[in-house]
């Protein structure tokens, strides 16, 4: 893939996202926080968050007293998945913004996840599969640990290890994960689990036995599932973006392999071939939505880092390497 084309697309789509700011801005009014978190991740990866400091403050303002967030910013009940995504954007954003209010919000979020964990190590959210839900607080705690946040450190480590244990217990022998109620194909959940949970441990010092092999098997399973045209999960744009991003971070940490690099290139080519004039939809031919457009920009940013000379450049976009 020509890097100049990738750079131009990132710039064009970023301008589009900014032009559509009213559709995702918490400063403009109540929002779908899953979309907001997707947009904040783009701001992080395009190094633009300094111009959007108010958006991060607005995210703090709609945090609940228990430390969590609701799927809709004006709703009162905290749920785990969106809380983890929001907390992750705050701890990452505050590396640049360095505000006491954001730091305090991150500590409240840590309290929330410690209180919300189930006795078997999982986290539960009625909107998401338990395995998928669990991967998100684990991902947040990966970054909490990587950035050496000290708040309730021992408890965080314990909860993080139990969350990883719950995920590892459910990996199938062939390397993937399935959930009969949410993810019968297994593609999206496998992509999420290895990039958002497991692979962080390899950077943190490989504290969990067998995790390298689990990542390797999961990555191989993702390659097996890729269609000949480069897509995953029956031309699912969202899941193809997930698989490309997951393959990038896992192969960068495990060490490059030619088969995965080929899968990433084919996946990205399919994503670009099925792009709308502005943004992306959930499937080829569907209308553009901002969440998928944020995912598209994020995938391009991660691919750009994957092609950098520095092998850790891509991993930094997950902040498993500070």
């Amino acid at each position: 893939m020509e890097l100049s084309r990738v750079d131009n697309l990132i710039a064009d789509e970023y301008r589009f996202l900014v032009a559509e700011r009213a559709g995702w801005s918490l400063v403009a009014g109540p929002q779908d926080l899953e979309l907001v978190a997707h947009a904040l991740r783009v701001l992080l990866h395009t190094h633009a968050l300094g111009d959007f400091r108010d958006e991060y403050r607005a995210l703090v303002a709609c945090q609940h007293a228990d430390g969590g967030w609701a799927p809709e910013s004006a709703e009162p009940e905290s749920t785990v998945w969106v809380s983890a995504f929001s907390a992750l954007m705050l701890i990452r954003g505050n590396r640049v913004l360095a505000e006491d209010g954001l730091a305090a919000s991150v500590r409240r979020a840590i309290d929330y996840f410690l209180a919300a964990q189930e006795s078997d190590g999982r986290w539960v959210d009625p909107r998401w599969a338990d395995l998928d839900t669990t991967s998100h607080p684990v991902s947040f705690f990966n970054v909490v640990l990587a950035l050496d946040e000290r708040h309730r450190r021992a408890e965080v480590e314990h909860a993080w290890r139990r969350g990883l244990g719950f995920i590892l217990e459910h990996q199938t022998a062939e390397g993937g994960w399935h959930d009969a109620n949410f993810h019968p194909s297994g593609v999206e959940i496998t992509a999420h689990l290895i990039q958002d949970a497991l692979v962080g441990d390899l950077v943190l010092g490989e504290r969990v036995p067998g995790i390298r092999e689990s990542c390797r098997k999961g990555l191989a399973k993702l390659r097996d599932w890729q269609a000949a045209d480069g897509s995953w999960d029956d031309e699912n744009v969202d899941h193809t973006m997930d698989c490309v991003r997951s393959s990038i971070v896992v192969t960068r940490i495990l060490g490059d392999d030619r088969a995965t690099t080929g899968a990433i290139e084919r996946g990205l080519a399919w994503i670009l071939a099925n792009k709308n004039p502005r943004g992306w939809g959930d499937f080829p031919g569907l209308e553009t939505n901002l969440e998928r457009t944020c995912d598209g920009i994020d995938a391009l940013c991660k691919y750009r880092a994957f092609r950098a000379v520095d092998p850790e450049a891509a991993v930094r976009l997950w902040v498993y390497v500070p």
Binding site: A129, P184, N236, D282, E291
Partner: protein, 104 residues
């Protein structure tokens, strides 16, 4: 034409369901997904109430039910009920000869 029959809108023919036993139709700007399960045809609003995933691309299951291809939310094709915090709109279907009609 009776007032009752005027409520039914012809949307497709059985042959349009194809080998995958499904079709997407548009009625007055509304996307409706049609599914054939056995001898019966079902009609459901095509966009998942969760994140607007296109149900016509979903996974057909026993029940009968359709599972959204985006995040796996499942909807009963007869009632629109889900085990998740949502409910999809389903539409009555009538088949006369080869013609499928729905009532909005």
């Amino acid at each position: 034409m009776s007032p009752e029959s005027a409520d039914w809108v012809p949307v497709a023919r059985l042959v349009d369901l194809g080998a995958r036993d499904r079709a997407l139709v548009h009625v007055n700007g509304t996307e409706i997904a049609l599914f054939r399960v056995g001898e019966r045809i079902y009609a459901i609003h095509n966009r998942c109430p969760h994140r607007s995933g296109p149900l016509v691309r979903g996974f057909l299951e026993g029940g009968p039910a359709i599972r959204c291809p985006m995040h796996g939310w499942r909807y009963d094709l007869t009632t629109g009920e889900s085990d998740r915090p949502a409910r999809a709109t389903v539409y009555p279907v009538r088949v006369e000869g080869d013609e499928i009609s729905v009532r909005l």
